[in-house]
């Protein structure tokens, strides 16, 4: 008894569907789904949910060359914050022509990589100038830029992503926000959504029309959140109805709902660091790299009522997305108590930035990372630690002692083809068979690369962590599909009991990251150093 999101937007959008494959008895609770994405001229893409979206920085998956991001099967969906492209006017991606312009520009493969666009980096909680009735403020290296609804629809039309987050009014001024400010936020977000839906409908172009996600407005005010949702489903009349016809309400044009957790956390706990201002004085030691999501003391249980409030009156069949969940524990609770379908990989990618190799599984396996004093097991290995100097094992032992994980770091393959540069090169192809599995890169090797400041460490860790995260979601889906819902709840409890949620291993890795940086990073530009202090992904490049 599959239930399908049925919009009446148009044939092209109709062709991509999100289907819940578990009978939905309740509004909130774990669920299985399938996102079938269609794009003309490319094979259909299926993403089983719950699953995740890979975060990007400046349009690329940090640390991965194109061959690596393609070979990493865990990368099925990439989310691209558009704001960095505002450095150039008009933004360079909008100058592209032909089919799949944004995919091609960034090296993503239509049919293999679902590409979504949003304006701002969902992990960036820095204070920003206020938005206006006709613009939202975005951040790029050349400063703050204003983006109007008209700008946004032009960019979206030119880029042809598979999915787009409608422009929304999220204040990034000092919380708390007054009721008046929240009302304004709701009105603007609704108006800007209507504007995008209208332009996508009236577009004469035969280009690909993206699915629309809406950011759920209302901040930490339950009533405001409910009011926003009601706005979406209200049947419109008169001029407003004409504007979005044949849609009868905004929600009909919406493919799914998204929740950015950073502003929620900041609103609930004003001490949550946003993006600490980098030290201006290069002679001072660098601040320890921080992360908005992991350093907040806001508990998942505090977030849930707000997410539920938004969803309480909306159709249950649409896809639900959150950004910057901070741990697998949080992910499991949001699946269990809300029924979130898509998370981002931000925390796992950030772990790769600071030298942590993930090693955990759901349901809880026999083997895995080390146990700490509080009796909990770590989610991964801080490969900076000297205990790995001689450790020739592959990174994750969760699966079994006999089988490495399937990422290109743990299961590398000899190349399928090699470039021949001369007419006599065929002789030098031997003795290595092409496309054959090679031994895993060891913890000791990555430990060595981290301590010698080699960028390859982060490439290997990124591929690995995304793959472990993929296995985690696959484990969640298999528990949800094979048994009664009850066993999922039991396994969540076991997971929470077993693994350390305080993420101490991440903190320890960050400290060692800094030590190595101080010892070896003399040649780095201060500008690049500042990157590590921000919550954005990626590390600086060593000169």
């Amino acid at each position: 008894m599959a239930m399908t999101t049925t919009g009446t937007v148009n044939e092209m959008i109709m062709s991509s569907v999100f289907t819940l494959t578990t009978p939905l008895s309740r509004r909130f609770g774990p669920r299985l789904g399938q996102l079938l994405s269609k794009r003309s001229g490319t094979p259909d893409q299926v993403i089983e949910t719950p699953s995740f979206v890979t975060s990007t920085s400046r349009g690329v998956v940090p640390h991965l060359s194109r061959d690596h991001h393609r070979a990493t099967k865990a990368i099925r969906w990439a989310n691209v914050p558009f704001e960095t492209f505002l450095e150039h006017n008009p933004p360079v991606p909008t100058l592209l022509t032909g089919a799949n312009p944004m995919h091609n520009f960034l090296g993503f493969v239509p049919g293999q990589h679902l590409l979504s666009l949003c304006i701002r980096d969902p992990a960036d909680g820095r204070e920003m100038p206020p938005n206006g009735n006709k613009h939202t403020s975005a951040y790029c290296l050349r400063g703050v830029r204003k983006v109007s609804p008209e700008n946004w629809r032009t960019y979206v039309e030119a880029c042809q992503p598979d999915m787009v987050v409608a422009m929304y009014d999220q204040p990034f001024t000092d919380p708390p926000y007054s009721q008046k400010r929240l009302t304004k936020s709701i009105e603007r977000t609704s108006a800007w959504l209507a504007d995008l839906l209208l332009s996508l409908q009236s577009s004469q172009s035969s280009r690909h029309r993206p699915l629309v996600l809406v950011q759920m407005a209302g901040g930490t005010n339950i009533a405001a959140r409910k009011a926003f949702s009601t706005n979406l489903t209200d049947i419109l009349y008169g001029k407003e109805a004409d504007a979005i016809a044949p849609l009868t309400c905004l929600d009909e044009g919406v493919f799914g709902y998204t929740f950015d957790l950073v502003p929620l956390r900041q609103s609930l706990d004003p001490t949550t660091p946003d993006s600490p201002t980098p030290t201006a004085d290069p002679t001072l030691p660098d601040p320890v790299p921080s992360d908005v999501s992991t350093q907040s003391c806001v508990q998942t249980t505090q977030l849930i009522p707000f997410i539920q409030a938004s969803l309480s009156s909306l159709p249950t069949t649409k896809i639900r997305v959150t950004h910057t969940a901070r741990s697998p524990h949080e992910i499991l609770r949001l699946i269990q108590d809300v029924g979130i379908d898509i998370f981002d990989a931000h925390w796992a990618q950030k772990a790769a930035d600071v030298g942590v190799a993930l090693d955990f599984q759901f349901p809880v396996p026999k083997h895995g990372a080390t146990t700490r004093r509080n009796g909990k097991r770590d989610l991964g290995h801080n490969l900076y630690h000297s205990q790995y100097t001689h450790d020739l094992c592959w990174m994750a032992s969760s699966f079994s002692k006999e089988r490495p994980c399937t990422c290109l770091a743990c299961s590398p393959f000899s190349p399928a083809t090699r470039i021949e540069h001369s007419i006599v090169d065929h002789d030098s192809q031997d003795p290595i068979a092409s496309n054959t599995q090679k031994p895993s890169f060891s913890r000791a090797y990555i430990h060595h690369l981290l301590h010698t400041h080699e960028m390859s460490a982060h490439s290997l860790l990124t591929m690995h962590n995304l793959t472990i995260l993929d296995e985690f979601f696959s484990g969640i889906r298999s528990v949800l599909s094979t048994a009664e819902g009850k066993s999922f709840f039991v396994e969540v409890d076991r997971f929470v009991d077993e693994y350390d949620e305080t993420l101490e291993v991440f903190d320890e890795a960050r400290l060692l990251w800094r030590e190595v940086d101080l010892a070896r990073g003399k040649g780095r530009l201060a500008r690049e150093k500042s990157k590590q202090t921000q919550s954005t992904l990626g590390t600086a490049i060593q000169g």
Partner: protein, 412 residues
């Protein structure tokens, strides 16, 4: 090592050789990318392999510090540690001792330096260097030599040359006693500074020891000396070195330097330049280097070189997205590193094909024309190639003095 000369250029001294080592065949002439810390910056061993590279360089000094010999031993050598299944060369560690440590003193026994770990005086002897290189396990290992800057003058140059000869004897003795001569091959390093008389003396002494030496490197150059002196020393050494041994010119990486050296009879070269310059946003092309940080590339949707077989260009990665990410995202450094290593391999690969087909002089003419075009040919290249029968100015063209290295400078 099995070493065989497959073809010789009828005009210049260039040649194609087949060098078979324990980890496969490497065709010469070739350029060796440098993986100082057991990794080409940002790449995996498989990526480097896919570019058609079959010989990499690791630095002994660095690997001895980290991960250290015990780890390398446990891992079964540097090949296994870094997942590199093809050929590997290690230097002796002597050059870094001098360039990275101010406190190194050279005695007859070896190089005395303060340990970077404990600060205690530590001695690197020729025997110790060979021992370390045995543990690393590279297919080609280098003798410890007494390195002086190429700008040094006076008796120190002669002393260093003579000591290098004596240290070669100790290296040969240690290497032969180890029983590793079938899997690892010892190269000697010709020293003698910029003095042709000293170079000749060194060549005489070291070629006498040919039976204990699998190949020869030309050391002590690329240290800021005049280019016209540089090529003359290379020519002198290449002419005098035995035909049946590979010749390796250390620290050479600019395309024009590589091709001049090949024309003078050099088979191998290494340099950090192509990988280092990639991290600063420079892509090497047959029309000269391109600085992708310049704003003129911001809206250029063309790849670096549409005809380049590297993964970056083959994928159509635009100059615009490289401009957008370069110096901000490590992945831009990876993209340019993949490209630049391929470019170097291509310059040398095309030389091999041209030598095999008897068209090497034409290749030199067309390469230099495309690379230096209207800017003018470096005078020293014109001079050097004339001595081996190739006249870059056959069809006219401008000449520029100085090093002549081509560069796309920053704006303003």
């Amino acid at each position: 090592m099995q070493f065989e000369v497959l073809a010789r250029c009828k005009t210049t001294r260039a040649r194609v050789c087949r060098m078979k080592l324990a980890h496969g065949v490497t065709m010469l002439p070739t350029f060796m990318p440098v993986a100082t810390q057991a990794a080409i910056k940002g790449l995996t061993a498989e990526q480097v392999d896919s570019l058609g590279v079959s010989l990499l360089l690791n630095n002994t000094y660095h690997l001895n510090l980290r991960p250290g010999l015990q780890v390398l031993n446990e891992a079964g050598g540097a090949h296994k540690f870094q997942g590199w299944q093809r050929n590997l060369l290690t230097d002796s560690g002597g050059f870094q001792l001098v360039s990275l440590s101010k406190f190194t003193t050279i005695t007859e026994e070896g190089a005395l330096f303060s340990s970077p770990f404990t600060g205690e005086p530590t001695m690197l002897t020729p025997e110790e260097s060979i021992l370390i290189q045995h543990t690393i396990g590279a297919d080609i290992i280098m003798q410890l030599d007494d390195v002086v800057s190429s700008l040094t003058v006076g008796p120190r140059v002669e002393e260093a040359m003579e000591r290098s000869v004596r240290w070669l004897d100790r290296c040969i003795a240690r290497h032969e006693a180890s029983g590793k001569t079938t899997t690892q091959n010892l190269f000697a390093i010709i020293q003698g500074g910029l003095d042709p008389v000293l170079r000749d003396k060194c060549l005489d002494e070291m070629t006498k020891r040919k039976d204990g030496v699998a190949g020869y490197a030309i050391g002590g150059l690329s240290g800021g000396e005049e280019k016209d002196i540089f090529w003359k020393i290379i020519k002198q050494c290449a002419e005098k070195l035995p035909e049946d041994r590979p010749r390796y010119s250390m620290g050479i990486g600019f395309a024009e330097d590589l091709l001049v050296c090949v024309a003078l009879g050099v088979d191998m070269a290494d340099c950090v330049f192509p990988t280092r310059t990639a991290r600063f946003g420079v892509a090497l092309t047959h029309g000269g280097p391109i600085n992708l940080r310049l704003s003129k590339h911001a809206v250029d949707l063309n790849p670096i070189d549409p005809d380049c077989p590297c993964p970056t260009c083959k994928d159509g990665t635009s100059r615009a997205i490289l401009h957008h990410t370069v110096t901000h995202e490590t992945s831009a450094a990876h993209a340019l590193t993949l490209h630049n290593i391929t470019f170097q391999a291509q310059v040398m690969g095309r030389a091999r094909t041209a030598i095999m087909e008897g068209t090497f002089p034409e290749y030199l003419l067309s390469f230099f024309k495309q690379y230096f075009g209207d800017n003018g040919y470096p005078e020293w290249c014109v001079n050097a190639l004339r001595t081996v029968g190739v006249d870059l100015l056959r069809e006219g063209g401008k000449v520029i003095s100085g090093s002549g290295a081509k560069w796309e400078y920053a704006e303003d």
